[in-house]
Amino acid sequence: MITAEQKPMDEIREMIAPYKRILTVGCASCVAECAAGGEKETGALASALRMACRMSGDEKVIHEKTLDRQCVKDFVVQLDDVIKDYDAILSLGCGAGVQAVAEMYKEVPVIPALNTEFLGETRDQGLWVENCLGCGDCMLYFFGGVCPLARCSKQLLNGPCGGSRDGKCEVDPDVPCAWQAIIDKLSAFNALDRLEMIYPPKDWSKKHGSGPRKIIREDQKR
């Protein structure tokens, strides 16, 4: 999933300052899972903003609405009927959600309330970890299901570097060494020989070599 965290309140208030009627729009997908922009967080942010504005004598109308998926046009259209009542949208979607809404309503400013972080997993209650770069050419087979590009601080395809100590990364003792994890995992099913070869330079053109990427699937078109 895509993870995100809410921006500081002061930053949000500064961005919404010029507007009087604001629709706060949440998203019930990834950002709900990481407790940043779901229905609950959207309601909480809208209330907090209403309260803060009232306290400082700033007259604003702030409403809220949560879409199932803010990055999918078919869901964003639900805003068609209400958008005319507002002069700005405060989006609690990820960067993709913010842009999908902005693309749809060209005259309305769309303000991001979240900082989009990474592709990751929910490891535990309140713990999300990055584990995918979206490189466009998955190599997880070779590395036992542990991605060195996303999880090694130096993106080594031929690791580990000399800073791996007691299973931790030299960059931060709280960061597990991805290469220790790769070696442990491959050892567990006798596939350590996959690390004897020299992995060639990564083809980064599949990630960002030709500008923003898109996927076209003829079989999915209507």
Binding site: S164, R165, I183
Partner: protein
């Protein structure tokens, strides 16, 4: 004078090699390089010039190498993959060769977070092993990554680093093997304080026959104080400083710290000379270049051979 790698000549001649490290200044003053290099002249075969070490912005390694070369010395260009993509790295190899630099050490580089530009992007387009292979393919095959031909191949004696003290121990030697297969002609190791572990590592190196495929130079760094020993043990990535050494430094009075540090360093070199497969020593006297000559002298490494 024809441009040759002194280090390569010494090693191929079967002599025990001596290299030292020279860190460029945090400024544009060439005199700082000239002064440091002057302390090393005649004491070592070749001089490693670090590349923005600990991720702190310094005079470029290439420029400092050029200054050192103009003094009639043999520079070793350290290059890290942290700051440059494959276009810049390969371009710099061609440029270095063109100005007569004949040695390169291909490294990952210290992470940005340790330096004075922690907000910088880390490039890491190639890793150190891919970079080694790129340089070897440029030199031996006159081609760049992807196979396109060069009009003239660079002439480089290719080096890499190895850390016998990092984890996992068994895999350290596998990775050394990958570095050698990728193109490393010589290896300079992380600072050696734990000789028992180093000897164990060398045994594994010999078991894989790697000592016959590359020249291994053991890294040493003289300690200046017990504080430095503790700092290295606790704060420097990949460093293994045994408690006995810290105690030994603590056991002498302050005015004798440096002497004790040099003594430990000389003893370490004596032991390294006796280990099968160790072909030289790399003395990294951090901001203490004047110690290198004394260490080399007392370890019986002077005079250096004329090649």
């Amino acid at each position: 004078m024809t441009d040759i790698s002194v280090l390569k000549k010494v090693l191929e001649g079967g002599k025990f090699a001596v290299t030292a490290e020279c860190g460029p200044p945090k400024g544009a003053d060439p005199e700082a390089v000239i002064k440091k290099a002057g302390l090393l002249k005649g004491k070592v075969d070749s001089v490693n010039v670090t590349d923005n070490q600990t991720a702190i912005v310094r005079m470029s390694s290439m420029a400092a190498c050029s200054i050192i070369k103009s003094l009639g010395m043999d520079p070793i260009l350290q290059m890290v993959v942290r700051d440059r993509n494959r276009i810049a790295l390969q371009s710099d190899i061609l440029g270095a060769s063109a100005i007569g630099i004949r040695n390169v050490v291909c490294l990952s580089g210290d992470h940005m977070r340790f330096g004075n530009q922690p907000q910088a992007v880390g490039v890491f387009d190639l890793d150190s092993i891919q970079f080694l292979k790129a340089v070897k393919d440029m030199r031996d095959g006159a081609k760049i990554v992807g196979g396109e031909a060069l009009t003239k191949a660079p002439d480089m004696f290719i080096g890499a680093a190895a850390n016998p003290f990092a984890d996992p121990l068994a895999f350290r030697v596998v990775r050394l093997g990958k570095k050698v297969a990728a193109g490393a002609d010589f290896i300079q190791t992380q600072c050696i304080y734990n000789l028992d572990r180093f000897e164990k590592w060398m045994e594994m190196v010999r078991d894989r026959g790697l000592d016959g495929k590359c020249y291994i130079l053991g890294g040493v760094t003289p300690l200046k104080s017990p504080g430095m020993a503790k700092y290295m043990k606790n704060n420097v990535a990949g460093m293994d400083v045994p408690d006995e050494l810290i105690k030994r430094m603590q056991g002498v009075s302050k005015e004798n710290w440096k002497e004790e540090g040099i003594r430990i360093c000389v003893e370490t070199i004596e032991r390294l000379k006796a280990i099968k497969g160790v072909k030289g020593v790399h003395i990294m006297a951090i901001e203490w270049e004047e110690a290198v000559g004394e260490i080399a002298e007392r370890a019986g490494l002077l005079p250096r051979p004329i090649v």
